[in-house]
């Protein structure tokens, strides 16, 4: 089984979010970048398929040279090959078209991408990729098994979960649950050394349109101070929620 894991290069979850150039660009100053957490759950599940079922695992990112350390980290975790499509990830349509080319050229059976990146939260690339390649698709996936050419995938639905069967090729929009948080791997020294020698292929982008464009960023209004209520006086809290906030 040939697996491709799509990797977004995103600010660490603890990052302070600021903008530059008149609030038109994300300020990367002092920001540490990591593998998108939703992608990392998928990568870790892919490692399981590699170790238990002999799958091969490639990773791909659409981005500039600055994203290569993130791809190297995926190699250090255990991926075999990395591919970087050398283009700025401008919008979901553009990125999905680039990935569709990589998927078709590579003949992958299973593609795992995070359900969304934690920076733009678009939540669209996996589904677009499925529509562009014609592969089956399961989103918000929290459990995945493959037997021969058939996958059993469980997805999170509002208020529960749903389990489906689908033939490969299959695209997965993955998240926590594909593996547990405690299954995530920190690359060891041997992995890091080996990752330096693994192939990281840079490919040129194909022509693809961009259908959406961010024109401006804005931070939320600063919050007012909290209204403290004495712990002996919970009636006051109920009254505030009823009369002032009008939420109960």
């Amino acid at each position: 089984m040939k697996i491709l894991v799509c990797i977004s290069h995103v600010p660490d979850t603890t990052s302070k979010i600021n903008f530059t150039d008149g609030d038109t660009k994300f300020d990367t100053n002092g920001v540490q970048f990591v593998i998108n957490p939703n992608d990392e759950f998928g990568l870790t599940r892919a490692m399981w398929f590699k170790e238990k079922q002999g799958a091969s695992v490639d990773v791909v990112n659409v981005g500039g040279a600055e994203t290569e350390p993130t791809l190297r980290k995926a190699l250090a975790i255990g991926a075999d090959n990395a591919i970087r499509v050398n283009a700025e990830a401008t919008d979901g349509f553009f990125v999905a078209n680039q990935l569709a080319k990589v998927v078709k050229d590579g003949g992958y059976d299973l593609v795992i991408a995070g359900r969304e990146s934690i920076d733009y939260n678009g939540g669209m690339v996996p589904g677009m990729l499925a529509a562009l390649t014609g592969a089956n698709f399961v989103n918000t996936c929290i459990g995945l098994e493959v037997e021969g050419d058939t996958a059993t995938a469980t997805r999170e639905i509002d208020g529960g979960k749903e389990t489906s069967k689908a033939k490969l090729p299959l695209i997965i929009g993955g998240q926590k649950g594909l593996v547990a948080e405690s299954d995530l791997r920190i690359p060891n020294m041997r992995g890091i050394m080996m990752a330096r020698k693994k192939p990281l292929t840079v490919v040129d982008p194909i022509d693809a349109s961009q259908e959406t464009k961010t024109v401006h960023f804005q931070k939320p209004e600063p919050k007012g101070a909290v209204t403290l209520v004495d712990s002996e006086n919970v009636d006051q809290l109920i009254s505030l929620l009823h009369n002032e906030a009008k939420v109960i």
């Binding site: 669209m124 589904g127 677009m128 259908e211 109960i248």
Partner: protein, 322 residues
């Protein structure tokens, strides 16, 4: 040229999110000087949509679509958009609609903007405000494609009554076997509980509750308020509560009217995930807990003393206001 909205239903009844996207679609249609058409798949009574400004409903009644199927549903919506010549398509942020939307986006070559929180800032070009960086920021996004797909955040616009005369007509889509490549085997869904996505009030517990055996407190408070229950990341990582209850940056986003956090310290990732909630209440014995900086109302105190009192007083309040 109308605005087309996909109104999602469950067991033949429109979901609250469907009425919200209908309300929003009416707002968009008014800005564009046009009307709203809804596409409904094995849905509820069309009259209900008329209350929220929908003038025409395309009703699909099809046994093959009884079980949800993202590709088939996306194809049905695509066919409706093409029949109506709609240029703006509105969809909700439910799990199913977020599953459908990117497929539909490609089928229509429509730029898709998700997590939109307000009516368009401009109509020419269409520019919408959405959340990014898990609620730590907003971005204004222009859509340049001919057909535009807007995904509205849960609970961002609310229900706006706007009664109009509604007509309905049957709609018979062409279905392809290729769309049914994913076959549902089983669904496991608690029917007696409010889901976090649908909830107006969410009650959430953190490590301060000391162990899973104390969750009766959270559940009882949620029960009194008709709320969904949630938890912080450490609580789900330690296995005290199922992952499905984990809210935050890598868990579920929450956009409820009221979010009550008990024994949750308020890590930056947690606060990001719940930031879209309108009113936040924190109960914590540590006055230095970061959550107090993000909350609207707070009580510094021991959850095991404060919450039982709160439950008792809320029961009195509910019986007096019933």
């Amino acid at each position: 040229m109308s605005v087309l909205v996909y109104t999602e239903s469950e067991n033949g009844v429109f979901k609250k999110g469907a009425l919200e996207v209908a309300s929003y679609a009416k707002g968009v249609a008014d800005m564009l000087g046009t009307s709203v058409t809804a596409i409904s798949i094995n849905g509820g009574a069309s009259d209900e949509l008329g209350l929220y400004g929908v003038e025409k409903v395309l009703e699909v009644k099809e046994d093959k679509l009884t079980a949800f199927n993202a590709k088939a549903y996306a194809s049905v919506i695509q066919q409706a958009v093409q029949q109506e010549g709609a240029k703006v398509v509105i969809i909700s942020s439910s799990a199913d609609s977020k599953f459908i939307a990117p497929l539909l986006s490609v089928y229509l070559t429509a730029g898709y903007v998700s997590n939109v929180v307000a009516l368009p800032e401009s109509t020419s070009p269409i520019k919408v405000k959405r959340t990014a960086f898990t609620n730590k920021a907003f971005n204004s996004t222009e859509i340049s494609s001919d057909v535009k797909l807007i995904g509205l955040s849960n609970n961002a616009y609310g229900l706006k009554e706007n009664s109009v005369t509604v007509s309905s007509e049957g709609f018979t889509p062409t279905l392809s076997d290729e769309d049914f490549g994913v076959q549902i085997e089983s669904v496991d869904k608690a029917t007696d509980k409010v889901s976090i996505a649908d909830a107006e009030i969410v009650v959430s517990g953190g490590r301060g509750l000391k162990g899973p055996e104390n969750w009766g407190l959270i559940e009882e408070l949620a029960d009194v308020l008709g709320a969904a229950t949630a938890c912080s990341k450490p609580v789900s990582d330690m296995g005290w509560r199922p992952h499905a209850e984990h809210v935050g940056q890598t868990g579920k986003p929450v956009a409820s009217n009221l979010y009550i956090a008990i024994g949750v310290s308020g890590a930056i990732q947690h606060l990001a995930g719940i930031n879209a909630s309108k009113v936040k209440v924190v109960i914590n014995n540590d006055p230095e807990a970061p959550f107090f900086k993000a909350a609207d109302y707070g009580i510094v105190g021991d959850a095991f003393e404060v919450v039982p009192k709160l439950i008792e007083k809320l029961k009195e309040f509910k019986s007096n206001n019933a």
